[in-house]
Symmetry: C2
């Protein structure tokens, strides 16, 4: 998907919501477990219920991998089912030496057909470039910068001797030259709104994928004020808050309600901070 298509969709839906498909068989409503492929059946109903409110879906690959080959089948069916206009993110946090990253790119962009993959920066440029080579096919890298978890402080926040800036800023400063805003985004956790604001100032043209609203405690209002741009410029993810809003028969209806509530707030924030 191109940046223009993503931006248009944000405008059309009045939403920058990404629904995280962290689908865990242990948390599915009991009646769903009776279907042939419960994970796909659950995702399908979640997608049907939320697609008018969401611009992106982000399957968390670990949840599928934990199920072995059957999990990959459910994942593939899910990816194929997501409506064409929605942006799809394989949340995989991969990154390896060149020949290996190239294979991950094949797996996620070609076989699975994702628009984007999350990538860990620790191994440097040659671990990221094989993914960026898919830029011409409008595929995206979403590089981890400053993640939402508490461990983000262990290394990402360490000050560097040369620049006196934290590592995550150096990751952004160096990597932005590897690609461009039409194929590269960054992960910045909703749990760091002040840092999100300064990151936004340093890279005004790049989209940010923001996890950590909801279960992890980030504020949608703060994130939106700090990060929205004239193009939208944000994808804010919610996983558990939407997909496990209810674990009863009405789960899809409750998921739709949660997604709609977020979308309505987003519509307001877009008028306030973006357009």
């Amino acid at each position: 998907m191109t940046k223009e298509q993503l931006t248009q969709q944000i405008k059309a839906k009045g939403s920058y919501l990404c629904v995280g498909l962290d689908t865990d068989p242990a948390k599915l409503p009991r009646h769903i477990l009776r279907s042939d492929d419960p994970v796909f059946e659950f995702n399908k109903q979640i997608i049907d219920a939320t697609a008018r409110y969401a611009v992106a879906y982000k399957p968390n690959i670990a949840f599928y991998e934990a199920l072995g080959p059957a999990g990959w089948e459910s994942l593939q069916k899910t990816m194929d089912y997501i409506p064409q206009e929605c942006f799809t993110i394989a949340d995989a946090k991969r990154g390896d030496i060149g020949n290996t990253s190239r294979l991950y790119a094949t797996a996620f962009f070609e076989t699975l057909g994702a628009d984007a993959i999350t990538v860990a920066p620790y191994m440097g440029h040659d671990s990221v470039l094989p993914f960026l080579e898919y830029g011409a096919a409008n595929k995206w890298v979403i590089l981890l910068a400053y993640t939402s978890n508490s461990g983000s402080k262990d290394f990402q926040k360490l000050l560097l001797a040369d620049s006196q800036t934290p590592l995550y800023e150096q990751v952004i400063a160096q990597s932005k030259a590897w690609g461009n805003p039409k194929q590269l985004m960054y992960v910045v956790g909703a749990t760091h709104p002040a840092e999100l604001k300064s990151i936004r100032a340093s890279i005004p043209d790049y989209f940010l994928l923001v996890p950590g609203v909801g279960a992890q405690g980030g504020s949608l209002q703060e994130v939106s004020a700090a990060g929205l741009t004239g193009e939208g410029g944000l994808l804010v993810n919610s996983s558990r808050g939407i997909i496990y809003a209810s674990q009863e028969k009405d789960f899809a209806h409750q998921a739709a309600k949660e997604a709609a509530a977020l979308q309505q707030q987003m519509e307001q924030y877009l008028s306030a901070y973006a357009y």
Copy 2:
């Protein structure tokens, strides 16, 4: 597998060789492609030919993931086929927020049955601890420290303001408190023999997994002199140099020859530097 079992195996075989199963369908001998599961058939013959010379096998997960669900089947069969006495490493370079790392741990330790998984440190302690919780089951984390690729210089080598040491040293200094030498190893590339020597001095009791000998240019002699300990203390990986020694019908025989040649050198280095 316990550290004692690994150490005993190194002694018994006179080897610290890890065979990397980077099995790429495009590089398989043509006659193998006729079998029902060419990737597994290839791995099976490589394992049969090299198991007397190798103490560990390291399937590179990207190569299997790139094949979709069928790749996971080949991988599972391969893991099940590797002899019990050999140490198995899922080279996956995972790492995510806690609930997600926990699922990767399930996938690789429980479903796949690996002894160890490679983990990327960028997301910090709560991305690594769920893997270390399997220590009581004698499962291992192999944390990326200073990798063999050229991109390792981009971030891993950056000097930190507080300690005036490179990031990879800080990763080791901090993370070694998260586990212990019976469940935690580090990846240090063969392309950095001087740094490997100083890492060895700082963590004498930890095993190091060393990729980058062969195709990537590292020297087995330098690595062995710098890194061997009384317990062995090293697993040196060779992938392409062994498994693609020949792409003809004699591939398994040629793989055995390459593995045997490495094992013979290792036996000498063990007497010279270890025991």
